[in-house]
């Protein structure tokens, strides 16, 4: 059972400031979807290994060498606000 309070808590974790009517709607939506997903509980998976990746690829390394990368100005080009070659954000520390 998903409550409004659960939805507000998850929205906090997801860093979304939901409006009241959105919280209302999402409570019903998540309840429906999670109700459908409950069908997975019917399966016995106690002896099954999880798959995180469809192909057996492990430990992909590259040589530790310096390669060209984005310039500082290119990296900053899309920033909503910048200052002295850095991303500018609202105050973080009091």
């Amino acid at each position: 059972m998903i409550t409004k309070k659960d939805v507000e808590y998850i929205a906090g974790l997801a860093r979304i400031h939901l409006q009241d009517q959105e919280i209302e709607k999402l409570t019903g939506n998540l309840e429906d979807i999670l109700g459908y997903i409950e069908k997975l509980e019917k399966l016995d998976v106690s002896q099954v290994e999880p798959t995180s990746h469809a192909l057996p690829v492990q430990n992909v390394f590259r040589d530790d060498v310096v390669r060209p990368s984005l310039s500082q100005s290119d990296a900053l080009k899309n920033a909503p606000q910048q200052h002295n070659g850095a991303f500018k954000v609202p105050q973080v520390i009091e």
């Binding site: 860093r15 979304i16 999402l26 997975l40 798959t51 469809a54 920033a79 909503p80 954000v89």
Partner: protein
């Protein structure tokens, strides 16, 4: 027939014999866009200038008008995933597939509409509004690569790129009557594809016929050190697999796919396709994929968990939208994150981020995410068991033809279930494609799905091409 209606391989033939030029073809496509796109709305943005044409080399191998999906980065060209949160974002680099296409002389027409961040099956979740199905403008083109499929189907391009996380190339290909390929996971580099679910996403072609799909796959496939999940397997010339010979090939028909919920007209069309391939010498047998009924539930845990993590980067700091909070609620920077994400994401994106965050949150991880990963193993094992004895699997691509715009927007679960035949393929990481196999009485296209094992794209294309050459569905043109 005007040039924009041709396939890439037909155009290449005409260019070779000097019967046309890349410029003529490009202009023909651009005038089709001007004429038709106010009705179809396939594009979110067209290339304002024909810069690619100006720099085209005389010896370019594939000077073909090409449509990009709005989630694949082209350097300096606004790319937004059809989302408000990426408004104005101009990537500072090319995706690997774009780099490869540019090297062969591709002429980019524009970016195609999609469901926001590829979250959807209809393009109705786009911040720019829905695209329309060229066969019936009141219907959806499918999604999430709906704009790409609609552009190809309405001859507003020659071919297009799409991306497929749970069916997002194949289902719109089916709804729009074009060919769409989801390659093996790792076959095509994801570098520069804006991530939705990293363990499932794959870029692929949407084309007018199977030969073009093979050609475009030749261009975009291959190992890329910039994508650590791309696989270092040699890339064959896929056009060589178009032999027209399927004699003795063993094709499985999964009984779980032909049950309740399958539209009788779709069933009939697929059964007729089986007869066509039988006549060509393929051998059919009934097989079982016993965990099929769990694929949608498994997918919506795994895909949303990965999406919630991938979409954490949209925080108003480095790119895209920033909204300032009007009053102080938590802390100035947290308020900015939360206001930006509330204003920037559409309803479906929020739904998926919330679902994914929930299933990854403390106390629920084992019950949802870990369990889904285990069921993913069972789904993958089902395919392995079938491919031990079969060369390919044949199914409908979607349970129905294109639905009406608005029909499923209030019922997310009903929308999710329209991907029921395509989703398990992504969970298993195997290749699959859709190609036209008929029309409903209402005149809407029906799609046939062909699935093969990892890196067996050649067998898949061979079956598809053999069927295509025996039928003429791919020659039918939507009149817009």
């Amino acid at each position: 027939m005007s040039l924009n209606e041709l396939t890439a391989h037909e155009i290449l033939g005409l260019i070779k014999t000097k019967k046309t030029t890349p410029n003529d073809v490009y202009q023909s496509v651009i005038s089709a866009v001007r004429e038709k796109d106010s009705a179809v709305k396939a594009y979110v943005r067209t290339c304002e200038n024909n810069a690619d044409l100006a720099t085209l080399k005389a010896d370019a191998k594939f000077p073909i008008p090409t449509t990009n999906k709005d989630n694949i980065c082209i350097s300096g060209h606004e790319t937004t995933c059809s989302s408000k949160i990426l408004a104005g974002f101009k990537p500072p680099y090319d995706a690997t597939v774009i780099k490869k296409l540019k090297e062969t002389g591709a002429l980019f027409v524009g970016n195609a509409n999609m469901d926001e961040f590829a979250f959807g099956s209809s393009t109705e979740n786009s911040a720019f509004g829905p695209s329309r199905n060229p066969w019936n403008l009141d219907c959806v083109p499918g999604g999430s690569s709906g704009g790409s499929a609609a552009a190809v189907a309405s001859d507003q391009t020659i071919w297009a790129l799409g991306s497929d996380t749970g069916g997002s190339i194949r289902q719109p290909a089916s709804f729009c009557g074009v060919v769409g390929v989801k390659p093996t996971y790792g076959r095509v580099s994801r570098f520069g594809l804006i991530a939705f679910a990293s363990s499932l996403d794959q870029i692929g072609p949407l084309t007018k016929d199977v030969t073009d799909a093979a050609l475009l796959l030749n261009i975009i496939s291959g190992y890329d050190p910039m994508d650590s999940t791309s696989i270092n397997e040699p890339v064959p010339d896929y056009t060589k697999s178009l032999t027209g010979d399927v004699r003795g090939l063993k094709i499985g028909i999964p009984k779980e796919f032909f049950i309740e919920g399958l539209d009788p007209e779709v069933r009939q069309a697929v059964e007729a396709a089986i007869e066509v391939l039988k006549a060509k010498g393929a051998v059919f047998k009934t097989v079982s994929l016993p965990h099929s009924e769990y694929s949608v539930a498994t997918y919506y845990i795994i895909a949303t968990a990965e999406a919630s993590s991938n979409l954490a980067r949209y925080d108003g700091v480095r790119f895209g939208l920033r909204e300032q909070a009007k009053t102080l609620r938590k802390a100035p920077i947290i308020d900015m994150f939360e206001e930006t994400r509330d204003a920037g994401f559409g309803a479906e994106s929020k739904r998926r981020i919330m679902l994914g965050t929930y299933s990854l949150s403390s106390g629920y991880y084992d019950a949802y995410y870990l369990r889904a990963q285990k069921v993913r193993t069972l789904i993958k094992n089902d395919f392995d068991a079938v491919f031990a004895d079969c060369d390919a699997i044949l199914t409908p691509t979607a349970p129905t033809t294109a639905f009406k715009i608005g029909e499923k927007t209030d019922d997310p679960l009903a929308m999710y279930l329209s991907d029921i035949y395509t989703i398990s393929v992504n969970l298993a990481g195997i290749p699959a494609m859709s190609l036209p196999c008929g029309f409903s009485k209402a005149g809407l296209p029906i799609g046939l799905q062909i699935i093969t094992k990892h890196f067996a794209e050649e067998t898949m294309l061979r079956v598809a091409h053999t069927y295509e050459q025996a039928t003429d569905w791919h020659k039918k043109v939507a009149k817009v």
